[in-house]
């Protein structure tokens, strides 16, 4: 199953450069999706969300308990695209310079030379990001938002596409630091893997029993493809009423009594950007309220801080957002 699913697809990687239409996007994205799903079984929604984030030029936060395939998803996604991929294992003793890179003195040339850190890649897999100290986590802030790194006063631009796929354990687990609000806000979406259903788990035993399926994964697209797809996704139409709907939804989180901190304007931006990509993946050149609804929880929930009362009552931000989605009427023409 894992082997050969991508066999028929290599042509997609180098399609005609000028014809980067919606069909092209769907084709390439489909190939990536299939490649990833050949490794991560039974997690179609998570895979689709990961693709969405990729096309939305966002960063993905994968949160779940250890051992459900967080890293696998990140790696599979990274590997199915033929681009530079770096992986950082976050540990409590990781330093900021371990991420961004350092200026080292070159004895021969007698000058400082910048040694780029692991962020200088198209896809950066940050594993167990919440095991590093907040200081180190913050080192990612600038890269993620501004797509540049400043070391010793020199600013280095990062090549697009640039995507951080971070995994983290739930905050309640031992030896973790909660991500700072500012950083959480920079992740476009958070996805939970969840346990696989029994059938998928059984299939996994067969596949993973022998060797890592990752080894069989060959890239089905390259960085240029991804750049092109991102352009296409950006062109998806959003009707003013849908924009308004997204704004209303985000504004509603700010007024919600269960939330200490609502979603930021950046969240609205991310929400719409993701919705564009999500619609494009559906081969649609316009965004539906359904897209916004589907993405509301992954895009918004991790940015929200529940009040103490809500926390005690176990009303989680996910539930709050889902509830708001249920209550907010979709935009419709005047009665």
């Amino acid at each position: 199953m894992a082997v050969g699913t991508h066999d028929g697809e290599p042509a997609t990687a180098d399609g005609p450069p000028g014809a980067a239409g919606l069909g092209d996007l769907v084709r390439v994205a489909g190939a990536i999706r299939r490649a990833v799903e050949s490794v991560v079984e039974g997690k179609a929604p998570a895979v689709r969300l990961a693709l969405t984030v990729l096309l939305a030029e966002g960063h993905l936060l994968i949160e779940d308990v250890p051992g459900v395939g967080k890293t696998l998803l990140a790696k599979a996604l990274a590997r199915s695209v033929d681009c530079s991929v770096r992986r950082v294992q976050f540990t409590p003793d990781l330093l900021p310079s371990d991420i961004t890179g350092v200026s080292a003195y070159d004895q021969e040339l007698r000058e400082f030379e910048f040694k780029p850190g692991p962020v200088f890649a198209n896809i950066v897999v940050g594993d167990e990001i919440n095991r590093a100290s907040p200081k180190t986590q913050s080192a990612l802030l600038e890269c993620m938002e501004e797509r540049q790194v400043t070391v010793d006063g020199t600013t280095y631009r990062l090549e697009p596409p640039f995507m951080v796929v971070a995994t983290q354990n739930p905050v309640e687990m031992e030896g973790t630091y909660p991500l700072p609000e500012a950083q959480r806000d920079r992740f476009t979406a958070r996805v939970s893997m969840g346990y696989p259903d029994p059938a998928a788990e059984l299939a996994m035993l067969d596949v993973h029993g022998g060797r890592s399926p990752l080894d069989d994964l060959v890239p089905v697209a390259d960085a240029a493809d991804v750049r092109r797809l991102i352009e296409v996704a950006r062109g998806t139409h959003v009707a003013p009423s849908v924009k308004r709907y997204a704004v209303d939804l985000v504004a509603a989180t700010r007024a919600h009594p269960d939330l200490r901190l609502g979603a930021s304007p950046r969240a609205t931006l991310h929400l719409l950007r993701a919705a564009r990509a999500y619609a494009a993946l559906d081969e649609r050149d316009y965004v539906l309220p359904d897209d916004v609804q589907d993405l509301a929880v992954p895009v918004l929930a991790h940015r929200l801080l529940p009040t103490a009362e809500a926390r005690v009552a176990r009303r989680r931000p996910e539930h709050v957002v889902a509830d708001l989605v249920k209550r907010l009427p979709v935009p419709a023409p005047g009665k």
Binding site: H237, A239, A252, D285, P289, Q293, P329, V330
Partner: protein, 819 residues
């Protein structure tokens, strides 16, 4: 804000005072009351500024009121027109005294003499002071309803007539406004941000989420209040026994009108006849040597069991003023003479609200508020009793001859319609009996005479006061066909009924026989209470007949009228009836004289009975039939309305989505979506709205948080739609989705949306239980919803308008105060 409460309290007082309008002949009092309220409220508000406690506030209001009264009513004797002096106060007091006298002298509506005007101003001003003190200073808005209620109940107590529903509504809304304002103040006192001024912050869009709750609460409060007032106005219409005459009965008298009914006049008859003491009811003097009966009631309606009268609709216009009374109906040709009767009713007589007068009263001078019913010439009062009164009545006594009566022309249609109606329950045997008795007659008059003869002589009737009062139609049948024992009530009721059966307009009159004469004074005792039939003859009007045996073996002082004495020569006997003056006039030639008129009468009668059979009976049965038919029709209309609304909505939607002509395209509102190509997008919207209505009709939820696509998916899944319906639904949803969210100029499939909607509707109908299906057809909930929405919007609009108005007034006043 105290100032707003002050304004609202003043407005509530004014609104409550509207109910006083029926008390006065003109509306000038409104200005006096307005001034008094303004001064009282202003004085109290000014005193409040000093802040010395509630008593001082009230004192301030009272002082301002006094200054106002002085300025308006006694400025001539005041210092600087306004400062009260002992002279001006004395003048006010004397004015009040004269007003009080006037109030006692006149029945409502009273003329607005200065004294009364001053009393009104002072009274309303006092109420304003009280309301102000209670609502504004003591914060007891609910208690402030008491003085308002007191003011409101004045017309109800004095007039015994209900005030118009408009006045009631104004008063109630005023009080509601007071309560609302007070509640708003109290909530404001808790320190929470209450959206008092909705339009203050124009850019308050962001606060939407917070404002929803109190706004909705206030709106539902307003709705409840408005609904309560509407119910209070509407329920009496549906409940028998409460007569909201102001609303449906033409409010034409300038004041309220009122319905007059006496439950069952005939019931009192037997009671009076059998009184053991046989007390004197009234005495009278008259210039008539042989006085006619004194009539109280004319009972024009036979309901199958009893004779009663149609409720009288009384308006102030019917008042007896001393001038000529309405002309007696039908009395045009017969010779008349005027008799004057001066009647004194004994003071012990209670609850006699109708005046006994000889028919037909032409001019009446009597104290108190007496009114005359133009059609029957009954004289009655809404509040006064005849007991102890003395009055003079000039009556026009018709003296038709037998010839006049038999020569009477055919009857006017309205008389026939009203006075020949009888219920279908009357047994055919009575009609046959009546026809048998009158078989020899050639005219209506002869029929009447023969009927009277039959009762008094030929029929073998026995006057028997111990006979039970007839309760049901069957009792009359038994009286006529079997027992033939009875007293005047049975005789009168039977003869009037038989006359109607024969097509002669008839009614039962009730009152007193002339009584006994001694020393020029006629004395009428309770035993003289009597009932008799009155029959209508064109030219002579209503003519009395006397079927009850008179004399010792009958009704003591009953007198058969002289024009009925022309007995048929063929009848041999003339027994038993003592004072039956047989006037041996030439009756023989009557039959030969009459025939030319008889056919006319016969035709008339046949027409009547034909009509009675044809359209469900005239008069009473017709009334029931019409009522039932009306109810059924109303029910049908009610039932059909939702269906019609639904069909209309459907047609309107599709019509609006027709390929647009140029002007329509210009007019199209942009809506929430992209600037869309009008035609296809409109068709899609129309189809979608239709689909939504259809879904609601079939009880399928349509959720506001679902996009067209999601809705279609859900419906397809829950209803397990077949392929054609599924695809049709998908096409409709797709079209709507494109129209709503896609890039402008997107190709919305126009095509067969209408057919698709039909397909989906059929699929809905097939998928739901039968009951739901029928409800969707007959009582489509979507139509009911839109009606409900309309009503709600109207209610909200009205109440919001009222609130805005009061707020605007408050604002204006505040600005003035600040300056």
């Amino acid at each position: 804000m105290r100032l707003r409460m002050t304004v609202v309290a003043a407005v509530a007082t004014l609104a409550g005072s509207v109910g006083l309008y029926p008390l006065f002949t003109t509306g000038r009092w409104v200005w006096a009351a307005l001034g008094a309220v303004l001064c009282a409220a202003g004085g109290a508000a000014a005193a409040r500024r000093l802040g010395r406690g509630a008593p001082l506030d009230a004192a301030g209001g009272l002082l301002a009121l006094l200054l106002y009264l002085t300025a308006v009513f006694a400025h001539g004797r005041a210092l600087l027109w306004i400062i009260p002096t002992p002279g001006s106060v004395a003048h006010l007091v004397s004015l009040a005294g004269s007003g009080w006298d006037a109030v006692n002298r006149y029945a409502a509506p009273v003329p607005l003499v200065p004294g009364i005007l001053m009393l009104v101003a002072a009274g309303v001003g006092l109420v304003a002071v009280l309301v102000d003190a209670l609502a504004v200073r003591l914060r007891r808005a609910a208690l402030a309803g008491l003085p308002l209620l007191a003011m409101y109940s004045v017309p109800a107590a004095v007039r015994e007539e209900s005030v118009s529903w408009l006045a009631f509504g104004a008063g109630a809304l005023g009080f509601l406004m007071l309560l609302t304002a007070d509640a708003r103040e109290q909530v404001g006192g808790w320190g929470r941000a209450v959206p008092a001024a909705r339009r203050d912050a124009g850019a308050a869009d962001a606060a939407d989420g917070e404002r929803v709750q109190p706004g909705a609460l206030a709106a539902s409060g307003r709705r409840i209040g408005a609904a309560a007032v509407a119910l209070a106005v509407l329920v009496p219409l549906a409940v028998p026994g409460l007569h909201p005459n102001g609303m449906l009965g033409g409010d034409d008298g300038g004041g309220g009108s009122r319905t007059v009914t006496t439950p069952d006049p005939l019931v009192s008859l037997k009671r009076e006849l059998t009184r053991p003491d046989d007390s004197v009811v009234l005495t009278y003097r008259t210039n008539d040597a042989e006085p006619d009966y004194l009539r109280l009631y004319a009972l024009d309606r036979f309901d199958g069991d009893r004779w009663t009268y149609d409720p009288l609709r009384s308006t102030p216009r019917d008042r007896v003023t001393g001038g000529p009374l309405p002309a007696p109906p039908g009395l045009t040709l017969a010779p008349t003479r005027t008799v004057r009767t001066r009647v004194t009713v004994r003071p012990e007589v209670r609850r006699m609200t109708f005046l006994p007068v000889p028919y037909a009263p032409a001019r009446l001078s009597v104290d108190g508020d007496w009114r005359v019913h133009a059609e029957s010439l009954m004289v009655y009062s809404l509040r006064d009793s005849a007991g102890g009164r003395t009055y003079t009545v000039d009556s026009l006594r018709a003296e038709p001859t037998a010839a006049d009566l038999s020569a009477g022309g055919s009857y006017p249609a309205d008389i026939v319609r009203r006075f020949t109606a009888y219920p279908r329950s009357v047994p055919a045997a009575i009609r046959q009996l009546a026809e048998k008795i009158t078989a020899r007659a050639n005219s209506a008059y002869e029929q009447a005479v023969l009927l009277q003869r039959w009762f008094t002589a030929e029929g073998g009737f026995t006057y028997d006061l111990s006979a039970p009062a007839p309760q049901h139609g069957g009792d009359l049948t038994a009286f006529l066909l079997r027992s033939r024992h009875g007293y005047c009530e049975q005789f009168a009721a039977s003869m009037a009924l038989m006359a109607r059966l024969l097509g002669i307009p008839a009614r039962v009159a009730m009152g007193y026989t002339p009584g006994t004469l001694s020393n020029g004074v006629w004395t009428v005792r309770s035993k003289d209470a009597h009932a008799w039939p009155e029959l209508y003859f064109q030219g002579a009007g209503w003519v009395r007949f006397e079927p009850t045996p008179a004399g010792a073996a009958g009704q003591g002082t009953a007198v058969p009228p002289i024009y009925t004495a022309d007995t048929d020569p063929t009848s041999p006997d003339d027994t038993g009836t003592s004072r039956n003056r047989t006037d041996p006039r030439e009756a023989r030639d009557e039959p030969s004289r009459a025939p030319s008129h008889a056919p006319a009468h016969r035709d008339e009668r046949l027409d009547d009975t034909g009509a009675a059979a044809g359209d469900g009976g005239t008069g009473f049965p017709a009334g029931w039939a019409a009522l039932v038919a009306g109810l059924v029709a109303g029910l049908l209309v009610l039932l059909g309305a939702p269906m019609a609304v639904r069909a209309l909505t459907r047609r309107r939607r599709w019509a609006a989505a027709e390929p647009p002509s140029e002007p329509r395209r210009r007019l199209r509102a942009p809506g929430g979506g992209p600037p869309r190509g009008t035609g296809p997008a409109d068709a899609a919207h129309a189809a979608w709205r239709e689909l939504r209505s259809d879904a609601r009709d079939h009880g399928l939820p349509f959720r506001a948080n679902e996009s067209p696509r999601a809705t279609a998916r859900r419906l397809t899944e829950t209803l397990e739609l077949e392929r054609p319906a599924r695809e049709a639904l998908g096409r409709i949803a797709m079209a709507e989705e494109l129209a709503r969210y896609a890039r402008s100029g997107a190709r919305v499939p126009r095509g067969a949306l209408r057919a698709d909607v039909r397909t989906v509707r059929a699929a809905f109908a097939a998928a739901v239980p039968r009951r739901t299906r029928w409800r969707a057809r007959v009582l489509p909930p979507s139509a009911l919803e839109s009606a409900g929405r309309g009503t709600r919007a109207a209610l909200d609009g009205a109440t919001a308008g009222a609130t805005d108005l009061s707020r605007a007034a408050g604002d204006a006043l505040r600005r003035v105060a600040r300056r």
